[in-house]
């Protein structure tokens, strides 16, 4: 009888020790430059871009949400005035995305996305510089994509969205350990119409 009780108690203890504890759930996203490192983001390290200058970046997304995730990276072109994503409220930028990448990621999977882009069309209207054409991964994008005073302080914002089965829609933020979290990153550049 004693042996049986001891076996049951020891088994319970062994099971509780061996069962892995739930870890913190998160996504991570980063941008690397042309060398695959966090440097040399622009040709000649000059962030003032002219039309036709090609920029080579690699986006990285890592899923540590303890399950399969339907992930969408939304790319938005903003200036310094337009509202960006808000980490505190977990709200995305209200600006319409110009490009999207979609993929289903396994738990602990890292997704590398080549992001090769250039400004294909740029116009000046008074003091404002208007980007009307971009080519991303050889896909042309046209329209009034973004405007900035004197072409200064454009930014490409990358927002990470994922499918939430409860909401039956893509969402930008999630709750973990009582804290609202979201993932986004951005890189600033200037656009110049003049030939240097």
């Amino acid at each position: 009888m004693f042996a049986l009780v001891t076996t049951i108690v020891t088994s319970g203890m062994a099971y509780s020790i061996l069962t892995p504890r739930p870890t913190e759930q998160f996504f991570a996203m980063w941008i690397l430059g042309s060398t695959g490192l966090a440097e040399h983001y622009y040709p000649n390290d000059n962030s003032s871009l002219k039309a036709g200058e090609q920029v080579n970046w690699t986006l990285g997304v890592y899923n540590h949400m303890a399950g399969l995730e339907y992930v969408v990276v939304r790319v938005k072109l903003l200036n310094s005035i337009l509202t960006g994503p808000d980490e505190t409220n977990g709200s995305p930028s209200p600006v319409v995305p110009i490009f999207e990448f979609t993929r289903v990621l396994l738990d602990n999977e890292t997704w590398s996305i080549p992001f090769v882009w250039r400004i294909s069309n740029i116009t000046q209207k008074g003091d404002s510089v208007l980007v009307t054409g971009l080519i991303v991964n050889q896909i042309p994008i046209s329209g009034q994509l973004g405007t900035a005073l004197s072409g200064f302080n454009f930014r490409l914002v990358f927002e990470l969205w994922f499918y939430n089965e409860a909401a039956k829609d893509l969402v930008f933020s999630w709750q973990t350990a009582g804290v609202r979290r979201s993932v986004w990153t951005q890189i600033w550049f200037n656009a110049t119409t003049t030939q240097q």
Binding site: T10, S11, L68, Y70, I98, T102, V104, D107, I141
Partner: protein, 170 residues
């Protein structure tokens, strides 16, 4: 009163123009993400939900995940074709994506059932093996202890009393 309404009209009209301009800008600015058939995102979410269920049941379905990613790539390619005015190929790619997702959804329930069965079997094996391991460990410990005691006893029995001769000192 009439004057204030007049002022209101004066405020509302530019506001409407601004709103209209914003809507127009939004419409123009979305050229890159061109329209996809409305059912495709919903279909992809449904397919994802079913594959996610397989994983939640403790199973693995890498083939289905690969197929789903292929379907998503087809949707993106279709958007690109449409943005270039190639409607015929866009529709063709969308049809391919639709059929891939239908295939996923037909294969997912069987995968989920298998995953559930595998998970149950795994749980039973784990739960059953823990007492066996504990009992076996206890038994091994007990046998080792007994063997050690027996060895000690044997060593005691084999002990001889040796009376050494006193060394005579000169």
């Amino acid at each position: 009163m009439t004057r204030s309404i007049g002022n209101l009209h004066g405020t509302v009209k530019p506001l409407l123009i601004v709103i209209a301009a914003m809507l127009l800008f939004a419409a123009i600015a979305t050229t890159a993400i061109t329209q996809t058939s409305n059912d495709l995102p919903t279909l992809s979410y449904q397919a994802f939900g079913q594959v996610a269920d397989v994983y939640r049941s403790g199973g693995q379905a890498p083939v289905l995940v690969d197929k789903l990613n292929q379907a998503l790539a087809l949707i993106q390619e279709a958007q690109f074709k449409r943005s270039q005015g190639d409607e015929a190929n866009a529709v063709k790619l969308e049809d391919q994506a639709r059929s891939t997702m239908a295939q996923i959804m037909s294969e997912a329930p069987a995968a989920q059932q298998k995953a559930a069965l595998d998970s149950t079997t795994r749980t039973i094996v784990v739960v059953a093996s823990i007492p066996v391991v504990v009992a076996a460990s206890t038994l091994i410990f007990y046998v080792t202890l007994r063997t050690w005691r027996w060895y000690e006893r044997m060593k005691l029995f084999e002990m001889r009393i040796v009376v050494g001769e006193k060394k005579t000192e000169d």
